[in-house]
């Protein structure tokens, strides 16, 4: 129990930014991003608690967390959003820094919103490959899709983002 807790603490500290960024790119806003990230770690914790020590030791944490996060987002879209325990007095930190930061933040939020408008299959592929910078193999693993499919989806997603939709948007 105690050992798992230490592993989990390390896991959260090491990956919180990465998973929050993933949530932001997939959902398009910071509020949902925090929900997704939180849900991802809560699920990770529950899973860790059931894993034998060897499995925890050999775990590819990055790929594993990405897979959980992608599933969390997919489930939210399906509307089977798992209920979260109410948090104690936690307001997301929207404190405004210097003006420059605010501008950059606004730009990033706008970009995130644009990415979030992509059809889910392109969005997942593009975000994991180019935002999170996973290899094609890792993306394929996280999404449970063949590498070829991922490559094609990344390509089409980027095309859409650049605004060159030659009629191959199919949603």
């Amino acid at each position: 129990m105690e050992a798992t807790d230490r592993v989990f603490e390390r896991l959260v500290l090491d990956h919180q930014n990465r998973i929050f960024a993933l949530g932001l790119a997939l959902t398009g806003n910071r509020h949902d991003a925090e929900d997704v990230a939180q849900d991802t770690f809560v699920r990770a914790y529950r899973a860790l608690a059931t894993y034998p020590p060897e499995r925890i030791r050999d775990l590819k944490q990055k790929a594993w967390l990405h897979r959980i996060a992608v599933n969390v987002v997919r489930n939210r879209v399906r509307g089977v959003r798992p209920r979260l325990v109410e948090l104690n007095g936690s307001e997301p930190d929207h404190a405004s820094g210097p003006e420059e930061d605010v501008l950059r933040k606004a730009e990033i939020d706008e970009l995130a919103a644009r990415v979030a408008c992509l059809p889910a299959r392109y969005r997942e592929a593009v975000v994991l490959r180019h935002v999170q910078e996973l290899s094609y193999a890792e993306v394929a693993d996280a999404l449970g899709q063949p590498v070829g499919t991922v490559k094609a989806n990344v390509h089409r997603g980027l095309k859409l983002l650049r605004g060159e939709n030659h009629g191959d948007r199919d949603d």
């Binding site: 129990m1 105690e2 807790d5 989990f8 603490e9 959260v12 500290l13 919180q16 930014n17 990465r18 998973i19 929050f20 960024a21 932001l24 790119a25 910071r30 925090e34 990230a37 939180q38 770690f41 809560v42 914790y45 529950r46 979260l84 325990v85 109410e86 948090l87 104690n88 007095g89 936690s90 997301p92 930190d93 404190a95 990033i108 970009l111 995130a112 990415v115 593009v126 975000v127 180019h130 935002v131 999170q132 910078e133 980027l158 983002l161 650049r162």
Partner: protein, 255 residues
């Protein structure tokens, strides 16, 4: 192509909001949340997680509480604004109107058994250390019971102040010394003077003439009895010889 990819890369540099990790750790119960509460006992620092209340102490400062918690419980601790209803729940718990859940992970099974048993002692009553030992099936482990209670991480909530020595001495108290223990017991309506007078004469049990039942002197069933209708006993054998049987509620002896 290139600019879109550079932009996307920037999206990946976003940082999680301040305090995010702490909140996640608190939510799964790896770290505990805590806050300061004003109660009937004065201010008390209380820590909790998803499993329940995990610690309480009348520390002088937040720093002192955090230090004690990390040393004693060994988990991370995050100070938060308490949920709206928690203060009322704590008040109810301390007044005996509610049973909260407690997180006793990290304690030995023996300590957990001692503390769970202690929770059964009603407000306004006391039991000897030996009673706890017998009730949890380790009749010889009286000293170990004392140690487990002295290290109770949640005093006031888990009423270790309701366990006192057979000779009437209040005994030590982790939650603020013997004076604090006596003060809390008085607050709960225990007649300490009567109890100690009896104990000093070696009288441990009170029997009621009409029912032929003997109890611990603070037992609920003795409250409506006139003082003249009591008989007092030094020990179980004496009570049984006089034709009395032990009370089934306070269980001064195995029935």
């Amino acid at each position: 192509m290139a600019t879109v990819m550079i932009d996307l890369k920037r999206l990946g540099d976003v940082k999680a909001p301040a305090g995010f990790a702490d909140r996640v750790l608190a939510q799964v119960g790896v770290a505990d949340s805590y806050a300061k509460f004003e109660t009937v006992l004065g201010h008390v620092y209380v820590a909790w997680n998803r499993l329940g209340v995990s610690a309480a102490m009348r520390s002088k400062s937040a720093a002192e509480f955090e230090h004690w918690f990390r040393k004693d419980v060994g988990r991370q601790l995050v100070r938060v604004e308490p949920p709206r209803d928690l203060a009322a729940k704590i008040e109810d718990q301390l007044e005996g109107k509610r049973r909260m859940r407690f997180d006793l992970r990290g304690l030995t099974p023996f300590s957990q058994a001692v503390l769970r048993k202690t929770l059964e002692i009603p407000r306004g009553q006391v039991r000897p250390y030996g009673w706890i030992a017998r009730e949890i099936g380790h009749p010889a482990a009286v000293r170990a019971v004392g140690t487990a209670l002295a290290n109770n991480p949640i005093p006031y909530f888990i009423p270790c102040h309701r366990v006192i020595r057979t000779d009437g001495v209040i005994g030590n108290y982790g939650g603020g010394g013997p004076e604090a223990k006596a003060q809390i017991l008085s607050l709960e309506g225990v007649q300490l003077k009567r109890l100690q007078t009896l104990a000093r004469s070696g009288l441990r049990y009170e029997g009621v003439r009409s029912t032929k039942i003997f109890c611990f002197p603070t037992c609920y069933h003795g409250r409506r009895v006139r003082e003249g209708n009591f008989v007092f006993f030094h020990d179980e054998a004496e009570a049984r010889a006089a034709g009395y049987r032990p009370c089934k509620d306070c269980r001064p002896a195995v029935a």
